[in-house]
């Protein structure tokens, strides 16, 4: 094997950086803003709908979020969401519809490997790390809060 020396590798790394291309930050940001903003506006519309039907705000957020998850799942199934994500990046990934996409995409992909070892085992391939570290962070914050301010309700 022709393994570059540390200097050669470093020299080549600099060359790669020099030849490197910059991402189209402005275009990406505009796409992220438009797509992310539209998704949020739709979410706001459904929240308003449930509020209008007389639900208190705290309760209305649940069906509103569920509706957005359903929309994200359907758009994934229709083969639309991956195209949105490709253009809008975090604008499509960050709203809860993006979370639905991260669950439904592996479910569709690994269905062919069976319900148990395909869908079951790989459903959280993308969302798993988010859930693990979100739970860990929540636990840490809760511990800090209890240490600083005492148990809830005290």
């Amino acid at each position: 094997m022709v393994e570059a020396t540390r200097e050669q590798a470093e020299d080549y790394r600099r060359l790669v950086t020099r030849f490197g291309r910059r991402p189209a930050i402005l275009r990406n940001a505009v796409w992220a803003f438009l797509v992310g903003g539209t998704i949020c506006a739709v979410g706001q519309f459904f929240l308003g709908l449930f509020l209008l039907r007389g639900m208190p705000l705290k309760e209305a957020t649940v069906p509103a979020a569920s509706t957005m998850i359903a929309i994200g799942a359907i758009l994934t199934g229709l083969g639309v969401y991956d195209k949105l994500g490709r253009r809008a990046g975090m604008g499509a990934a960050l709203p809860i519809t993006g979370f639905a996409n991260a669950i439904v995409a592996p479910a569709m992909e690994f269905r062919r490997e069976g319900l148990l070892l395909g869908v079951g085992a790989r459903l959280f391939q993308i969302a798993g790390p988010v859930i693990v570290y979100a739970l860990a962070a929540a636990l840490l914050v809760a511990v800090v809060r209890i240490l600083v301010a005492g148990p809830p309700g005290s």
């Binding site: 094997m1 590798a9 790669v16 490709r86 993308i126």
Partner: protein, 337 residues
């Protein structure tokens, strides 16, 4: 012996013939600039199969059958089948070999597989071990995507250096010297080159030093000048890796002009959103079996140097933080007579 080796380069003094080639590609490749050069353009990527993997396998079987038909070689006269692809345990090639049903060599050279296959087929024929050898190299966008990256419906933004795995198969039939319109005269076998690049989303930069290494070896071993070739093609360095390769060669004292191109940059146009360009075992294979072979047959090209490039990492090695070893094999194909 009629075969000589000079450095890394095999010289076939009785050059085995390329009797026929066939390229079967997916819909996106069929919309690209090389569209008219392919034998078959598939309307979709699943082909009514129950999995992407089965679809890729079916495309390979079709391409091999087509190539054998064009070469007018009967199944009983076929001595070996050589095949390679990107999937774990090269299942596409092995499963295709199950139905092709002749003695089989499974190859893995990542996206350099087509040149590896052509080289070994020429060795088998020139060595007198075979009269007719069929070979194929394939990749499929969705089988590769789900294995190397993410589920196909997952919405993720690709970095500017990323490449698009092509859905394509290139197949060929190699036979005795003096037949057919094309022949294989040289093959430069690449070394594994590693310049410490670790980003599997930037394979062009990882592979460029391997391509440069093989190209330099080829010109040193043969004593030829770049002007000996109508076209010098890297496999799939794409728009990030190809300029890097040009620069590495320039630093080594080899300046290549407009005849130095890249298969991954030829398959798609800018509106097709493939980011840096095409990649995959089917990339250089389909450009060879379609565009290059037709132009050689029609006499538009007299001699070409195809430098197929491959990144030899796996998802495991990439996640464990290993650098990406790469390889490039070069093959000289010229018009006979």
């Amino acid at each position: 012996m009629t075969v000589k080796k000079n450095g890394q380069t095999l010289v076939f003094s009785n050059p085995p013939a390329v009797l026929a080639t066939a390229a079967v590609v997916g819909p996106k490749e069929g919309e690209g600039p090389l569209s008219g050069w392919f034998d078959v353009v598939k309307p979709d990527r699943l082909l009514g199969m129950k999995s992407w993997e089965r679809a890729e396998c079916k495309m390979v079987e079709e391409a091999v059958t087509l190539a054998l038909g064009k070469a007018k070689v009967a199944h009983k006269d076929l001595d070996f089948y050589l095949g390679g692809d990107l999937l774990h345990q090269i299942i596409t090639s092995s499963f295709a070999a199950r139905s092709i049903d002749v003695p089989f060599f499974g190859l893995y050279g990542a996206c350099a597989t087509i040149a590896e296959a052509l080289c070994l087929a020429a060795v088998l024929v020139d060595g007198g071990f075979a009269t007719h050898v069929a070979l194929a190299s394939s990749s499929h966008h969705d089988t590769a995507e789900r294995q190397f990256r993410f589920p196909t419906e997952f919405g993720v933004q690709r970095p500017v250096t990323a490449q698009y795995t092509v859905t394509a198969v290139g197949a060929a039939v190699v036979g005795p010297p003096g037949k057919g319109k094309m022949q294989i005269t040289h093959a430069t076998v690449g070394r594994v080159v590693d310049y410490g690049q670790k980003d599997p989303m930037d394979l062009g930069a990882a592979m460029a030093p391997a391509a440069a290494d093989t190209i330099l070896a080829h010109f040193q071993d043969t004593g030829r000048a770049p002007e000996s070739y109508d076209l010098i093609l890297t496999g799939d360095l794409a728009s990030v890796g190809h300029p890097l390769c040009v620069e590495l060669l320039r630093r080594a004292g080899l300046v290549l002009d407009g005849r130095f191109v890249d298969c991954g940059m030829m398959l798609y146009d800018e509106t097709q959103e493939t980011v840096a360009g095409g990649s995959g075992c089917g990339c250089s294979a389909s450009v060879f079996a379609g565009y290059l072979a037709r132009n050689l047959e029609q006499g538009k090209f007299r001699r070409i140097l195809l430098v197929a490039t491959g990144a030899l990492h796996s998802t495991t090695s990439a996640q464990q933080g290993e650098s990406i070893p790469c390889i490039a094999h070069a093959i000289v194909v010229e018009r006979s007579g």
